[in-house]
Subunit: 132 residues, 4 copies
């Protein structure tokens, strides 16, 4: 996501609230995790063991939605309300942790769940650094 | 949003976690607030006093995104993770309160801000009842 | 969605491109359909006959996304680019028709599919009137 | 977006409809463009010449929404309905072209508009290759 980094660096209001490097990393992680969860849900729907993957699909869908919107809020570098940003980061960390834990249960059987769990853990960590 | 109510009532897993009436009200309020904030941002961009409305536009955009995703999570009646749902409801209440407060500052001059503030307050209240 | 109607009516740029009544109806239909499809996907994931509902879930997810974004574009009353709005309306009509057709196949067995098909047909019709 | 590539490669239904390389490129371009447009809108809201950037902000917001949802549809590798995917790709190409043209008008004065125009052109091209 090279354009994302350039966009954040050329924003007229440099981020004062957050470390710029951490912000770029978190916006990128949110979009990567959203995209990964969207694909993982569809991949799970293609598996024969579909019935065992219902919780995984549901958490994938929630996590994709929450990450996408968190990436949007952070991508608005001006951060209109820090309270809103922080609350959304907390929801995102929660969603990523829940989805990672579920995906990890299926990581031995499904490569897409293994990769998706990685994307979720990376995003949870990136949110964590923003909240620190 | 009559279809929303019917959809939630015909879901095979009746909501155990939340009161069904409060759930329908909150899903509806989230989608109404998201739509109101999207229109308010565009309306503000049409005003001559645009410069004074920059914070309002930013909060409108954030609030639209946060409400939309909260409405989605709640609309998945099964509620895959209660922790995620609750964290997202808290972010939504925060976004609605911030946006309502800003819109109310412009309510005397701009009808769209007055109506949007109402939609935000209703949604904040609906989230509050879900979190109670 | 009373707030939506009020928001569109109080927008400083009254819609010149579209009939105002048709616009309010279409924005509302898009959000109703998006919410219905989100709930229908989750409801389908709760059914025992899950395996037969995979296509339905996939079309529900696509249709929810497409309707939501179409509702957003239309809710920006100023309509920055009529070509973009029209192309998005065509995608929305396509998504609603595809999802309605699939939901109707399951309407006899699942009430949520029957209601969702109605929401999809209403939205396809509303898009159609906007494109006329 | 390395995870996106891995996710698409580990999906049990390898894409038959689209060239896999083109699909990965287009999903990535959609998410990059969505994120770029979201930041560009906020950056424009921070500029002194805000009044001249109103159309740019509006097209940024529309383009961000359309790209995001197109990225989601394509990320569901199974492609439930090819007609819907194609219609959405056409809307996305239209949105990217409109936004790129407007951003290019401001590229001499605002670095963020220059970078955003690049992201829009890349995404329009990626959609074009998918539609070919």
């Amino acid at each position: 996501m090279d354009h994302v980094q350039e966009m954040i660096r050329t924003h007229p209001m440099r981020t004062k609230t957050f470390d710029e490097h951490a912000l770029v990393a978190c916006v990128t992680a949110c979009h990567e995790c959203a995209a990964s969860c969207t694909t993982c849900a569809d991949a799970c729907l293609s598996e024969r063991s579909l019935q065992e993957l219902v919780s995984c699909i549901r958490l994938n869908l929630d996590c994709a939605d929450v990450c996408e919107v968190t990436g949007r809020l952070l991508g608005r570098v001006s951060a209109a309300s820090l309270d809103v940003t922080r609350a959304q980061l907390m929801a995102c960390r929660e969603a990523c942790q829940a989805c990672a834990t579920e995906c990890e249960r299926h990581a031995g059987h499904h490569e897409h769940c293994r990769v998706c769990a990685e994307a979720c853990r990376s995003c949870a960590d990136a949110c964590d650094r923003m909240l620190a």
